[in-house]
Symmetry: D2
């Protein structure tokens, strides 16, 4: 066992090196103790305030997006999301309006003076997307699409990076490192539920990931309550939990008429539900938006 002890000392040496390597991560708080603040059209994300990102799952028309934008604006929200490129399980499901969708988003963003967040799924589209969106979203299915991460790291646009369906927190942090290693440190992390055996919710919201990510990295952390739960009745309670645990903001889907939505019909709030949602949260939490 003396031999074994030497082996262990050797292993400890290796572990030490690995540790140093980890310390070296540009996204880590060890590397940069102070919080990174991502600024988008005047909104500061990560400065201690708590913000909302809302909007429809998929862009369907100018009118649809504008209706949500108007309601959001009325609540003092300046961050608008909407999907133009939709990654869907089946190739026969609605795949989004593509570039047409980005144009609608930009028009609405300009008219309502709101920042636009939209998912990009092909590295080749990152550059052109920069002309239309204020924040590039990288979705859960693409969290380890490293070519996409590198492409997003090479431009000067904030990136909202969602945690993969079954990604560990360590893998999530390393995915963000792919972006920052290309020179772009304007990254917002977004917990959106992980895949577990439990089927009462669409995914299992890993609420503990929020304080862990805040501790391990200097990046702002959002919680997507819509995809975490997949249940309209859980949006409000999980948003309360997210704000209480220290998330920098909450993302939720809002659609003027969810029943006819081309995707995620069951889990989007309509405008009235959205207003109640925000009002209820405002009465409990002193967040700025």
């Amino acid at each position: 066992t003396l031999q074994h002890l030497f082996k262990e000392i050797f292993k400890a040496g290796l572990e030490l090196q690995k540790d140093d390597h980890r310390k070296a991560l540009l996204v880590s708080r060890k590397k940069k103790p102070e919080d990174t603040v991502v600024e988008v059209k005047g909104v500061k994300i990560g400065d201690g305030s708590q913000n909302f990102i809302v909007g429809p799952c998929a862009v369907e028309s100018y009118e649809q997006v504008a209706q949500v934008a108007q309601a959001a604006k009325a609540q003092g929200i300046k961050l608008l999301r909407g999907g133009a490129f939709k990654p869907r399980t089946s190739p026969y499901d609605f795949q989004g309006l593509g570039l047409e969708g980005l144009k609608i988003l930009k028009r609405v963003g300009d008219e309502f003076d709101m920042a636009i967040i939209s998912e990009i799924i092909n590295p080749a589209d990152i550059e052109v997307a920069c002309d239309y969106v204020d924040v590039i979203q990288i979705g859960a299915r693409n969290m380890q699409n490293f070519e996409l991460l590198k492409a997003a790291g090479a431009v000067k646009k904030p990136v909202l990076l969602k945690r993969g369906l079954a990604a560990t927190i360590d893998e999530f942090i390393n995915a963000a490192e792919y972006i920052i290693s290309q020179g772009n440190d304007q990254i917002i992390l977004c917990e959106r539920g992980i895949r577990t055996y439990e089927k009462a919710t669409r995914n299992t919201l890993d609420i503990s990931a929020v304080p862990i990510l805040k501790k391990e990295t200097h990046l702002p952390v959002f919680v997507d309550v819509t995809h975490s739960t997949g249940r309209k009745d859980l949006l409000l309670p999980t948003a309360k939990a997210a704000l209480a645990i220290g998330a920098d903001g909450v993302m939720a889907e809002v659609h003027p008429d969810p029943a006819v939505a081309l995707s995620d019909a069951a889990q989007q709030m309509d405008i009235d539900e959205f207003n109640e949602f925000i009002t209820e949260l405002r009465s409990h939490y002193a967040y700025k938006s």
Copy 2:
């Protein structure tokens, strides 16, 4: 496909029956819309207030338990936990003091006028345990130990039932039904984290389970932040989330000297940490205890 349609109608009929069956669950809110309030030594659990259950993982000595009781009492907490029968992965790990542990707990409970909560693991011990404890705990590993559930249902003591390591919410509710079906409706449900692929935390706190359980059943719901996370640095943030999402209370482990604890050394708070924990929560939440 007409044939298929008839088959589906038949299946729908079956499903209807099953639904009725589910409606009939005694723990369900459909059966009893108003909240069940569990009263233990004057403390009302489930009446809208938010309470704490604290204490060491395992009872080790009278002095150890008394020290925690004193600190808890000073914070206005009246619910004291401590393990006398410890279910341990290995037969060679400390298995608890057994009946001796229950006696220590009772003595401390009497001296400090606190309610005692302790886990029972053998149906044969339920009756004698009633002489020593105010609340019988049924642990995660025994959530589907149906003989134990039935035995706990047959006595007149409140039961704190923990969710199994990999139990669905539906299985958890049915486990509570085993207790209530024997005549005992004084049940507190306790979410304590589920087993997933993520290893940054000991288990994954399924925070969404809280509002689901509150909606589906009329029983009070606690969150055990110690076992959910297994990390001392996450106790405070997850407790905030639990209180914000509407849990009826939080359970956490406290030990006068965690470093020498016979179990769970790494995750128990010492007295100072416990005081900070409660003070911090009090400054944010207007709970009664």
Copy 3:
């Protein structure tokens, strides 16, 4: 970091001790290199032959059990299973015939000269069960019901121990250690699928667990193909895989008329299906039974 290195050396020392502790497990191959052979009514389990355990999910009547016994006997199978005490998710589902069921099993076992395997769920029933069964089964939900494990370890009957729904292999091995540490080394381990996110099967058969258990312990290892998959169409292919990977045997449920079975109706084979199943396996594998 020199300080850190010393810390690591200390940790390595601790790990070494833990390792020694693990080496000391009585079920481990390190402790006893040769295979344990469990002998039941003349059938040797674990001697390199491959056996079958078949029978209905639940005992419903003498006729039902006798019909399966006759078919099994005709195929040269001598190990008959049947549930008398049924752990069920809902308290309102059929809970088994209890002692009456054990009596039916014993009568059939005597008449057909077959060994009887049946699950016991209460430590208090272990002793009386010894009068009726040849092998005590401890089910998945009770794998960490340590009182039950200890009670089974204290008698002189072989024990078939099923892996828990979400138990790690390490926890499974330690559960067996609870039995052997009481003096009973006649233990058969049984992989029966683990709980994962995948819903195409009832559970996910962890086929790799078989060679790992064979390597880490000296105990025979069975695979329960019925509960692993919950699908009749997968019984044959998974049984082939289990025999190919070196399992000491396969367990499967057989019912004379699955459509009217009081539990697990969809996944039990009828007599004809059972005969095809065995014939097909016999044509490919040279097992003895």
Copy 4:
């Protein structure tokens, strides 16, 4: 409840439509009952024979690849894998030789008359890759990189599609549908283990997926034993299980000197181990290669 029954009939109607939709999948056996045979440089995959794909995790040099090719050829294996573009958790890990790696693979493939399989990770690289490889691999992390799937569907090269880390079988089948819907039906599915709570293996080999995929689709199905287990000692037993359950082939990593490998050092076989592996499998299984 009459109202409810009508609702259920309506739901059944919807379900019927969905069913028809599913029937319409081009990869489904309902659409095409006979097996698809993928032919690569004279090797028929999916015709009832059982083949091997072997090679190093990552291409490091011509010599390294040639050594493995020689050993494989000597065993009658004609399918050679090697990674040129390596998706790695950390951006600071070895990312592969890229195009240089593809050139090495092509040279070895030409010299040894073997078919080359290599992973492509950027849709933009698919076309150029066609000049170098005989089979395009799409890795687990990219299983739902739909742009990559579409690009691979648009060329005339066979595609080996790996199941995602946490993909359901249904999602896996739909990912293949993305490829075939673009006109390319030369698809090989590859089970490579799923992410579960169990840590004794790197992933959990979902062996049941093989017969399910064979039943649901007309495509050949391989099992990657290296990534499923991450343990050299499990390669042989799991390969036996894969061949027994009816996989069309087995994929495994082989490296001339695993200890110095730039990735996956611990789990690759060296040449001697590889020869034993094949010899042992040959003695038990009558496969053609």
